[in-house]
Structures are given as C-alpha cells and as structure tokens.
Amino acid sequence: MNIDAILLMRTEFLLVFQIIFLIIYDLFASKSGRKGLDVVACSLFIISTVIGFFPATTGSAFGGMFVADAMNGVFKSVLNIGVILVFLQSKTWLNNEYTEHKKAEVYILIISTLLGMDLMISSGHFLMFYIGLELASLPLAGLIAYNKYSSESVEAGAKFILMAAFSSGMLLFGISLLYGSTGEAGLYFDTMRNVIAPRSLQLLGMVFFLSGLAFKISLVPFHLWTADVYQGAPTNITAFLSVVSKGAAVFALMVVLYKVFANLFDYWEYIIYGLVVVTITVGNLFAMRQHNMKRFLAFSSISQAGYIMLGMLAGTPAGMSSVVYYILVYTVSNVGIFAVVSILENKSGKHDIGDYSGLYKTNPKLSVAMMLFLFSLAGIPPFAGFFSKFFIFMAAAQMSYYVLVFVALVNTVISLYYYLLVVKAMFITPNDEPIAYVKTDFSSKLGLAICLSGTLLLGIVSYFYSYIQQFAYGLF
C-alpha cells in the first residue's frame, strides 16, 4: 500500500473517511453540534466532490482488482453531484421530531451505498464487483425502511431486500457460470475479455449476470419492485434510488459490457434492444395510469432508463458520452422534481397528482420550477433534456438503429402526455383547496437553484458535453 494506491482510490478513501468521521461526530457531538450535522456532512461531501474533479492518476491497485481511469472519475463525479442534490433537499425532512435524533444515519448510509457503487464502477474483477454491488444494496434497504413506524416504508424495505437478494443470487449464479466455463482466466476483466466466446454456458452466465444489473436499473421485466419501493420509501430516498442508484448501475453495466462482454456484442445487442423497447413502452403505459406522484415518477424513471440503454447500445464513444450526459441531465431534472414533491409533502403530507391542482395559485415559483423540470424530462427544447435525448438518438442513429430511434421518438410523444398532465393539474385544473403556500428553507432553495440552472444551462452551454466527451471510449 503506497501513496500511489491511495491517490488512485482517493474518492473511496474520502468516502470512508467521511463515514467514520460522521459516526464519531454523531456519537460525541453536543446537542447544538448535532444541529449542525447536516451542514458538516454536506460541506464535507461537497469538498470531496470538488477534489474528484482534479486530474487524477490512472492505473490499477490490488493486483488489478481496482481500476481507475479518467472515465470512472467522470462517472463518480456525476453520482457525487446527484448525492449533493439529495443531501440538500433532505435537510428539512430530517429535522422533524421523529427523525431528528437519527439523522446521521441517513448521511452515513447514503455515503456507504455510494462507496459500494464507486467500488463497483472501478472494479477490475468480478468478485470485487460483487462486493461493491452488495455494499450498494444493503444500506439502501436500511434507508428505504428508515421511517420504521410507517408500515409502507417497512414493507418497501422488506420487498427491496428480498428482491435484491434474489437478483444478487441470479447475478452470482451468472458469475459462477462464467467462472466455471473460463476457469483459468480467474475472473479478472482484462483476461476474461479475451477468453469469452459465444458458447452456451457463457451466454447463460451473461444473461444471468445482466438480469442482476437490469434489476438495479429497473428495466422491464425486472422492474416490478420499483413502484412499490419508490412509493413506500421516504421521498428523498426515492430520489436517491431513482437517480444515483440507477445511474451507478448503468455505469457499472456499461463498464462490464464494454470491457468484458465486447466479444458477445452480437448477443447482448439483441437483449438490450428488446429490453429498450419493452422498458420504454411499458414504463410509459403504466405512468399514464398513476395517481400517486411517487408511483408516477417510478414509472417515468423506468421509461427514462430505456432511453439511457438506447445510448449504451450504440457502443461508440459518442454513445458512452451521451449516456453519461443523459444521466447528468436526468439527475438535475429528476432530483429537482423530487425536491418539489418532498417540500410539498413535508408541509402538507400530500403526494397525489390530484392534490397538485391549483398549485400555481399558491406556490407559483415551485410550480414553474416543477414545470421546467418536467419539460426537461419530456425533452422539450431548449431545456437540457432535449439535448440529452438528441445526443442519445444521434448516437443510436449513427449506428443505424433507426427503428429503435423511431420507437423511442413515438414514446417521447406519449411521455409528453403524462408529463403535461402534471403541468395541467398545477396550472389549469381549478381547485378550491390547493396546497397552501409553503415556505422553502435555504438548503432546498439552493438545491432547486442548482437543479434549475443545470436544466437551463447544461444543454445550451456546450462545455459540459465536451468535457464528458473527451474521456469517452467505445466498444471496439
């Protein structure tokens, strides 16, 4: 263990440091010191995020178990940004009488999950990957069941842990099949890449492995847990699930597909192709029928995941950068929506779409922000969401997936319908008793401001896309 290895793993070390620090702080801080815990946790995290943007060394540690390259750094930074935004919007929620005494847990668990995700993204070995995956799943169950007196929350936690265990089992089975059929390669990504060939056992291993990750990304038909868990979990945790957790799984899948399963492209191409079509379509079909805002967002996020996979399918550097960019844009827009939902929920306890009727009359600023986020998700220019969809479609069209792009475009129109339903409720539908005016605290405002500026600027200012683009690599 030398200084180079520490520098290689600086993101992970910083996270570990933060976890330990927060545990100690939580134990020994005075009552007033505990009040400032949110600020301390946020500031520490922001500092570590900023450090993540400094140029890093590349290489591998632990004999190839851990691999750091420039693109991994970008992946982690995108996830970090998502976590900052979730932290900012969680402050109000955490400081109520029921959760105030245990708020440190949320920060510790979220950072632990993130640590698992970072390890998963940077792994160079299937077992390392698996450890990261488990570390990313287990604390999540704790977070989902965080409101332990709410039966919904507990139910969601139980469902999640069971399904996660089930999918891990599948994934592990896939890994063991791969190991069994390529034994001498020893599960290292570098060596696996060369020995993998389209033989039945290895294909079977790949399918099992993919299904485990498809569960995390909640692609149809591995998505069934999503709506129940999203609805039951505390809103801010749902935001984390839908953005950071999903993004991390996409990044991990992309790394594995591009690095390990490159030889099997002809096979997983068809799997992803099919998954994209059903994911976008089924996500949309269900989103149209939802009355609960959180369930609605669950299905919307399922269909968004379909678009993300479309970019991954291209297998070109353009495809990779468009996927990362899409997730970045999706992060700011989706977390923005969840921020509004959680602000309203904290105050009024309401989270049905019908409750939002007439919101513009009482909370004009929140309504306009929400509208812009929804526009961005629907892909209306000039908001960032338009550009992210545009780049995804362009990357896919360059590889001649015209039919798929067409299907995705048709679905964009359908998605516009249900996103606008929310806008219609807020601005047009009359309501005698709309949700009363809600005062927003500073940290939520800051979070919303970041999300808004991201939604407005990420697309128009080309710097961000170019920044991502310079690190991207392709399949071939």
């Binding site: 469902k159 069971l162 399904m163 089930f166 999918s167 599948m170 039945s200 294909l203 079977l204 790949m206 399918v207 099992f208 299904s211 569960f215 038909p221 591995f222 069934l224 847990w225 709506a227 129940d228 096979y267 068809y270 799997i271 099919g274 089924v282 079909l285 269900f286 149209m288 029928r289 362009m394 080309s462 896309y465 170019s466 683009q469």
Partner: protein, 638 residues
C-alpha cells in the same frame, strides 16, 4: 484584431442583456427608466459598432490590398467531425457596414420612440422587444456560419412577429403579425432545407469555407442531381427562398404591407432598414458560391428582383394609406438591390463586380432615407391621427421640419443628385446596363415610377387641399424631430462615400466613375416623374381621377395589389383548407384518431390486464423475474 472580436461580442451582449432586464423587470420600472435603459444600451452598441467598423476599414481589416474576413468561434454542437455548429462572430466589409446601418437606424428609432410611444400601454415591453430585435439582427449579420445565421434569422422573425402584434388588442394587428410570421416561416422552411442540402454536400456550415474561391469546395465536382438540377442549384435556390421571404420578393411579399399594422417606428426599423434587407445580405454573404457554383440561380434572382420591383412600384402608385405606399416602395427598392446582385460578377476589375458593390451601396443609403421616410410618416400620423392620404394635405405649414426632411428623402429615393439615392441607384442602373438590356429597361422604368409615386405621396401630405383638422397639427418634440434631422443629414452626405473602395465582392479596391450615358437619362426620368406628380397632385385637380378612369382595369388591379391576397386566400382557404386539409382532417379524425383511440383502448385494456403483474406480491415478482431470465436465455442460446 483580437480586441475587435471582443467588442463585437459586446455588441451582441448589451442588447440581449437590456432585453432580459426590461423583459423581466420592466413592469416594475417607470416608462422613463425603461426608455432610458433601452436607448442607452443602443447608444453604447452604436458607439462600439462605429469603433469596430472604423478600425476594420481603416486599420486592421486590410491585409495587403484586400479586406480579409476575421472570425472567431467556438464549437457548440458536435455533429460529425466535419460538421459542427459553431457560435462566434465574423467581421468583414459587409458585416462591418451592416453594423453601422443597424445600430444607427436602431438608435434613431429608440430615440424617436421615446416621443412617439410616449404614454402607450406596454411601453417597457416595446423597448424590451426593440432590444431583442437589435440583438437578433446584429447576431444575424455577425454570424460566421450559416447555421448560426439561421438561428438568428428565426429570432429576427420572432421579434418582428412580437413587434407587429404589439397592439395585440387590435384584431388587424394580430392578423398581420400572424401573416408575417407564417409567410416568412414558410420561406424559412426552404432556407433550412437549403442549408441541410448545402452542408450535406460541402460538409461545412462555415462561411469562410463556403465562400473561399480557392478552397476545395469550389474545385469539387459533385454531379449529384435531383429532378434535372444539380443539388447545389437546389440548395442555393432554396436558400434564396428564405431570403425572398424575409426580403418580401414576389410572390412572398404579401406580409410586408400588412406588417404596417405595427407601430410606425418599428416599420422604420424592421420593415424598411434592417430585417427586410436580410435576404439581400444572405445572397451577398454567399455571393461567391452563387456566382461560381450556380450562376443560373443568380440570373433567376435578377429576374425575380426585376419583376418584384416593377410590380411593387405600380402598386405603390395606387395606394392611399401612406404607410402602405412606403411599404410597396420598400419592396420595390429591395428588389432593386436583388437585381444588382443578380447581374453582378465576381471581382473588382472594371465593371465586373459593380453590381455587388452597388447593391450594398444602395442597401446602405436606402436604410437611412427609408427610415427617414417612415419616421417622417410617423410624425405626420402622430400629428393628424390617421394613416390615410385623404385626411391630410397642406401640412407643410404646420410641420416644417418634417416637411423639409421628408422632401430630402423623397428627392433621394427619386434619384436626384446630390442626394445619396442618386449615387447608389445610378451604380445599379450601370451594372444592369452592362449585363442585360431588358433588366436595365425595367429598372429604368421603375426609377421613373418611384419618383412619381413618392411625389404623389409628398404632395398629398404636404400640399394639395388643406384638410379640415379637428385641432391644429403640431410639430413633435425634439426627440422625434432630432432623429429626422440626423437621418436627413445622412441622406445628404452618404452618397459621397467612396463606397467602392471599401465594399466589393472580393475585398479588393474598385474604381468607379460616372457613366454619363446612364446617369443623365436616369436623372431625367426621375425629374419627369416628379413633374407629372406635380401637375397632378400639387393643387387639387381632377386629372388624377381621369387618369385612373382611363387606365380602367389596370388601375383597379393595381389598387387591389394585383389580387395577390385574394389569390393566396383562394389557395389557402379553398385549396389547402378545403381540399387538402379537409381530406387530411377526415383522415386525421377517422384513421389517425381511430388508430390513437384504438391504441388508447388497447393500452388501457392491456394495462388493466397487466396491472395484475403489479400486484404487490413478492412471490409473483420473483417468479416473473426468474421466468424472464429463462426466456431471454433460451432466446439467446437457441
């Protein structure tokens, strides 16, 4: 050179900033503050434009003997390695000249509007839109690539739409704004398709590459054809369609007369001096490409221009709304510029590039005297509260400053020396004379008609039978007469600028001399037009009615603008709405909606069928999960 690129950027930033400021906070400001912010911003822009243009023409622009293009841009959208959309600025003779034209006229209009729009509801909104327009127009001329130009082109269209419909409670203004937007938008469709074709085959959007006569594009041999014409002909023709829409060429001119529903200063700025010359500017921008790659399209442009200018001049003789007379006169004069471009050749040797230079020269002088005419008309309307000639007459006593400045502008447009219009129009006639005698004859006739209808307008407003006014018309304040006097000054002096030394098609200096064989007859025909107008309209006579009756059908047709509006109404209402849209609507209602209803029915049914899947029962979730894995595995392996 670097600092001027930066200054050019500031020229763009200031108006957009002032637009945002006025647009977002305008309602909280007093009228005075809003007007002051807009006008100060434009004043700074004008100053910066003068500095840039001055230094361009007299110091950094000239490399050796030629005026070079200077541009700086950054990549905005990366499409392929060849094709990317950049944003930036471009300085060359024509863009520097346009900076001066736009900022001067815009500044004058800003000042003038302080008086003209005084006390109007929505004063702040008006200034916000003016700033937006200035931003768009300046961005259009500074664009270093055709795609950025297209973006600003559309922005210009939007701001024009907003300003024409400024009096949005007036149905006619709303209709006019819609008409302008739809017609120009239709033309822009051609423009966009043209851009796409052009960029597909040349693999670039950049003007530097598109107009570099020594570059690879001019030596490429792309022989792809479509329906018998080469793809480049299609591209340049479609791009010209966009230009024809904005510049109101036949048959896309129908929006401009109606656009006079907007506030008069807006007409002066947008529909006389700046936006409507965008089409001319576009052709000039791509001139080397037109000339070398698709010369026959240039000929088409010349003939469309000639037809338009004659048509508009004839119609202008019959209109009674003074702003509409000016609108048709604008169409006619812009068509003049198009003719000049159409007959021009590339280079600065002898008469070769005369047309290009003359076109730009006329654009330059016309901007000032036409803005002056519109602002003068605005002053008249302000005084008598009517647009119609029959409500005017004998105003020279009440509005002395307006009268003199208007007269100067009329003399200039009629081509009487030593006013600026004489010089630029003369160059155009010389260029046409060398190229094509038919075009020359047509333009010569138009010159006479121009003198006639302008003086018909002049006499009807300021002479003739004095109308019975409800209250004595008064000259407006200095903020309105000041711009009039300044523009009149420009009208007198700009003709003496040795334009050929600065603006030519290839950047080289050009020598011009008076061609007496053209100049003398052109002055004579102008004088003839004035004399006829004097006889008919100076004193109230019945000659004009007699002439009108003797013309019979021709007069009637001309006063109805040759039934173009009716034709369009017939085409849109009967053919498009009735036949095509009707059947499409039927198709839409029954087939498309049917399909959608079917889809809704189907997705409703399907989703209620599959909603069982979302049962909340974990065992079932796991079962579906496992089954899916096996199905996929089976599909992949077998």
């Amino acid at each position: 050179m670097e600092p001027y690129i930066l200054i050019a950027l500031f020229i763009l930033i200031i108006p957009i900033f002032s637009f945002l400021l006025l647009g977002l906070l305008g309602s909280k400001m007093s009228h005075k503050t809003a007007g002051l912010i807009g006008t100060t911003g434009l004043f700074i822009v004008a100053l910066l434009s003068y500095i840039t243009a001055f230094h361009y023409f007299f110091s950094f622009g000239k490399v050796g003997e030629t005026y070079e293009k200077f541009s700086a841009s950054f990549q905005w959208l990366h499409l392929t390695d060849h094709l990317h959309i950049d944003l930036g600025v471009l300085l060359d003779p024509i863009s520097s000249m346009m900076l001066v034209v736009i900022s001067t006229v815009s500044l004058m209009v800003h000042i003038y509007s302080l008086g003209y729009m005084h006390g109007e509801k929505g004063f702040q909104r008006y200034y916000a839109f003016l700033s937006l327009f200035s931003f768009s127009m300046l961005g259009l001329v500074l664009a270093p690539n055709i795609f950025q130009m297209y973006i600003f082109w559309e922005l210009v269209g939007v701001s024009s739409y907003l300003l024409i419909g400024f009096y949005y409670t007036k149905p006619s203004a709303v209709a006019a704004s819609k008409k302008a937007f739809i017609v120009t938008r239709f033309a822009d469709l051609g423009f966009l398709v043209g851009i796409l074709i052009l960029s597909y085959f040349t693999k670039t959007f950049d003007f530097n590459e598109l107009t570099n006569v020594h570059g690879s594009i001019f030596h490429s041999h792309i022989t792809t054809t479509f329906m018998g014409f080469s793809v480049f002909s299609w591209a340049t023709l479609l791009i010209f369609m966009g230009g024809a829409g904005k510049s109101a060429m036949l048959p896309l001119h129908i929006w401009l007369p109606d656009a006079m529903e907007g506030p008069t200063p807006v007409s002066a700025l947008i529909h006389a001096a700046t936006m409507v010359v965008a089409g001319v500017y576009l052709v000039a921008r791509l001139f080397p490409f037109y000339y070398f790659m698709t010369p026959h399209v240039l000929t088409v442009i010349a003939y469309i221009g000639a037809a338009t200018s004659l048509f508009a001049a004839v119609v202008a003789c019959t209109q009674t709304d003074i702003k509409r007379v000016l609108a048709f006169s604008t169409i006619s004069q812009i068509a003049y510029m198009m003719v000049a471009l159409g007959v021009s050749r590339y280079g600065a040797d002898g008469e070769a590039g005369l047309g290009f230079m003359a076109s730009m020269f006329h654009l330059f002088t016309h901007a000032f005297f036409k803005a002056l005419l519109f602002l003068g008309a605005g002053a008249v309307i302000h005084a008598v509260h009517s647009n119609d000639m029959s409500d005017m007459g004998g105003l020279r006593k009440y509005l002395p400053i307006t009268h003199i400045t208007f007269l100067i502008a009329c003399l200039s447009i009629a081509g009487i020396p030593p006013f600026s219009g004489f010089f630029s129009k003369d160059e155009i006639l010389v260029a046409a004379f060398h190229k094509d005698i038919v075009l020359f004859a047509c333009q010569y006739l138009v010159a006479g008609l121009t003198a006639f209808y302008m003086f018909r307008l002049y006499y009807n407003i300021f002479w003739g039978k004095e109308n019975h006014y409800h209250h004595t018309p008064e000259e407006a304040g200095l903020n309105m007469t000041g711009p009039l006097m300044f523009l009149a000054l420009l009208t007198v002096v700009t003709g003496f600028i040795p334009f050929a030394r600065f603006v030519t098609s290839d950047g080289l200096k050009m020598e011009t001399e008076m061609v007496w064989i053209v100049a003398i007859p052109s002055v004579l025909v102008g004088v003839l037009g004035i004399v006829i107008a004097t006889i008919m309209y100076k004193k109230p006579t019945t000659i004009s009615d007699k002439v009108a009756t003797s013309m019979g059908g021709l007069y009637k047709a001309a006063s109805h603008k040759f039934y173009f509006d009716e034709l369009y109404m017939f085409v849109t209402k009967k053919i498009i709405f009735g036949l095509i849209s009707g059947s499409i609507a039927w198709f839409d209602r029954h087939v498309v909606d049917g399909f959608m209803n079917f889809q809704a029915y189907w997705s409703n049914g399907l989703s209620s069928k599959i909603k069982g899947l979302q049962s909340g029962r974990l065992q079932q979730y796991a079962w579906v999960f496992a089954a899916s894995v096996f199905v996929i595995a089976a599909l992949v392996i077998f």
